[in-house]
């Protein structure tokens, strides 16, 4: 485990997390996360060889939904419930910045 995060690592992580940080935030978060990771170092002292990781308290997904389409109705103004409150909509679709 690495106990410290330098500014370059924090910037890289922020890019992966789609967060834009100011220089001041990079310094602050690097320091605070290093402190937390320093504390987490204690996990190194635990003998975990052969221990099956526990990802949740129940044995996985207990049931699944049938793969069925459910009709959605437009409201009086013609909006679909899924897109009605979206920030930007075009032809019943979510409008985002072009990727090409």
């Amino acid at each position: 485990m690495s106990a410290t995060l330098n500014s370059d690592v924090t910037r890289k992580i922020a890019t992966l997390a789609r967060l834009k940080l100011t220089d001041e935030e990079v310094v602050r978060y690097s320091s605070q996360m290093s402190q937390v990771l320093g504390y987490i170092e204690q996990l190194k002292e635990v003998q975990v060889t052969g221990v099956e990781p526990m990802v949740q308290a129940l044995p996985g997904c207990t049931h699944t939904r049938p793969d069925e389409a459910h009709p959605v109705e437009r409201d009086a103004e013609g909006h679909l419930p899924t897109t009605k409150h979206a920030p930007s909509v075009l032809h019943d679709s979510f409008k985002v910045h072009g990727i090409l």
């Binding site: 485990m1 690495s2 995060l5 690592v9 924090t10 992580i13 922020a14 992966l16 997390a17 789609r18 967060l19 834009k20 940080l21 935030e25 978060y29 605070q32 996360m33 402190q35 937390v36 990771l37 504390y39 987490i40 204690q42 996990l43 635990v46 975990v48 221990v51 099956e52 990781p53 526990m54 990802v55 949740q56 308290a57 129940l58 996985g60 997904c61 207990t62 049931h63 699944t64 939904r65 419930p81 899924t82 897109t83 009605k84 409150h85 979206a86 920030p87 930007s88 979510f94 985002v96 910045h97 072009g98 990727i99």
Partner: protein
């Protein structure tokens, strides 16, 4: 007019002392006058309509239809992490400041189908991340009885709303202690059921392997009744306890306070030297009363408790970084005007996500780090391995005892901003609540008195084996009666 239990409220309805509309108007008036900042949205129009329908029902039948509507005319507050169709649901975040969900959370739908009235949506730490309710984009919540103190978090609004009589009962959610810590700080009952007991459909996800909804009330009976109504399978939550949910209230009053033969585990890690001495003294007095009532105290140890915060701050943040990736300003929520002038989709995401508060960003960063290539085995995987050891500690002690009792946290409520500058210090406040989430166990905070001249409330932590919610509630109710009787005798 305030009622300590749903039964009292129903008696007053039956005796014609009051009506659902009168009770609702009383609460709406109190909410308007309150300076606690407990509510983010008051659903005045909606709740008045619900109350009028209840008035008509009561007029028609002359008595509360409690068989059909067990929560008839009970005014409730919902943590603003839970959706109500057509009503703003913010998660106390600027990201969702204008979010109007197209569906209602299953837990709320079930409460209202059973007759509950929804007064409004209450404040919390943004996306339920925090322990003092100081991380809300809508401002901090004040303690119900001690101005300037935190009510705890993240369900701080839910706790203050009950403690300050701004609703009859409320819903919170508990990922690492977010129901129990504020219940302890505010002197109310806070119950986190077993993982998978209550559907999370309509609960804005924080850490899906840990999140659980639960009631915050003035009595154990109310907590049991609300849980009974909400519990049970829901096709819309893929991780739920299978089968019929027990009738939690059925045996509550039959048992009385007979604690003879109950093996009460006292884990040394929950009674350590780090506890506030005044709080420790009162908790030990309660322990003595439990023993005098016939229970057998069993000293036990949960040796991996000390690792719980480390495990939690890897598991919870990793899941949060994934869950919150959907908050991108594209399909719902707020997209700042500058985002439409971004030069790329990536930048558009980044501008929208700049609306997250500081604590949320910190946790997303930490989670992204823990899951990133090269660090996954050392952090996330190891945390999940230690999580199993924490769960196995409980399996082992529950062969020797039926329930566990201890402290909820090391201190009573503290003044706001005392711990704000030091995230790690605030995280450590959760060391005794997190293990029950990691292992998926039911756990409850029971108010057991106040400490010091300032009369700060404190709670006793009760934890039971997985899926033994019923046993936990029965035991907690026995303790509630035992301590109430003792305090009444003491006053004579």
């Amino acid at each position: 007019m305030r009622h300590l239990s749903i039964q009292e409220l129903h008696q007053d309805y039956n005796n014609g002392v009051t009506t659902p509309s009168q009770v609702v108007e009383g609460y709406l008036g109190s909410i308007r006058k309150s300076h606690h900042n407990a509510y983010i949205s008051v659903l005045e129009k909606r709740v008045r309509e619900q109350a009028i329908r209840a008035d008509l029902e009561l007029k028609k039948t002359g008595k509360v239809p409690s068989d059909r509507l067990p929560l008839f005319g009970v005014p409730m507050a919902y943590k603003d992490l839970l959706t109500v169709k057509g009503e703003r649901t913010t998660a106390a975040s600027k990201m969702l400041e204008n979010y109007i969900p197209p569906y209602t959370a299953t837990c709320i739908a079930r409460l209202e189908e059973a007759g509950a009235l929804g007064l409004g949506k209450v404040n919390l730490d943004e996306f339920a991340m925090g322990g003092s309710n100081e991380n809300s984009a809508f401002g901090p919540v004040d303690h119900p009885t001690h101005a300037g103190f935190t009510p705890g978090g993240s369900s701080g609004g839910s706790a203050t709303a009950v403690g300050a009589d701004l609703c009859h009962a409320s819903l919170g959610s508990d990922t690492g202690g977010s129901i129990r810590l504020p219940a302890h700080f505010c002197g109310i009952v806070g119950f986190k059921p077993s993982y998978g007991r209550i559907s999370r459909h309509g609960v804005i996800a924080f850490a899906s392997s840990l999140d659980q909804v639960g009631p915050m009330t003035k009595s154990v009976y109310d907590a049991a009744l609300l849980t009974e109504v909400m519990a049970g399978e829901d096709i819309k939550d893929s991780a739920m306890i299978a089968g019929q949910s027990p009738k939690f209230t059925q045996d509550l009053f039959k048992q009385g306070i007979d604690l003879r033969g109950v093996r009460v585990g006292v884990p040394k890690e929950y009674w350590g030297d780090g506890l506030d001495p005044d709080m420790s003294r009162v908790l030990r007095e309660r322990l003595k009363q439990i023993k005098e009532a016939g229970a057998t105290l069993v000293e036990v140890s949960l040796p991996h408790t000390k690792y719980s915060v480390s495990v939690y701050y890897l598991v919870a943040v990793s899941e949060a970084s994934s869950n919150l990736s959907r908050m991108d300003g594209m399909r719902f929520g707020v997209r700042p005007a500058q985002a439409d002038m971004a030069s790329s989709l990536e930048e558009q995401y980044q501008i929208s996500r700049s609306l997250f508060g500081s604590e949320v960003k910190r946790r997303i960063l930490l989670g992204t780090f823990a899951l990133s290539s090269g660090y996954y085995d050392a952090y996330y995987k190891r945390a999940c391995q230690v999580r199993r050891l924490i769960a196995q500690d409980f399996d082992s002690v529950f062969t020797k005892c039926d329930v566990l009792v201890g402290a909820i946290s090391a201190t009573p409520a503290f003044k706001r901003t005392e711990k704000e500058q030091d995230p790690l210090k605030l995280y450590l406040n959760d060391i005794l609540t997190i293990p029950a989430n990691l292992a998926g166990l039911p756990a409850l905070s029971l108010p057991v008195g106040t400490i010091r001249s300032e009369k700060l409330p404190i709670g006793l932590h009760v934890i039971a084996p997985r899926e033994r919610d019923e046993s936990l509630l029965q035991f907690a109710q026995s303790l509630e009666t035992l301590f109430q009787n003792a305090s009444q005798l003491g006053r004579k």
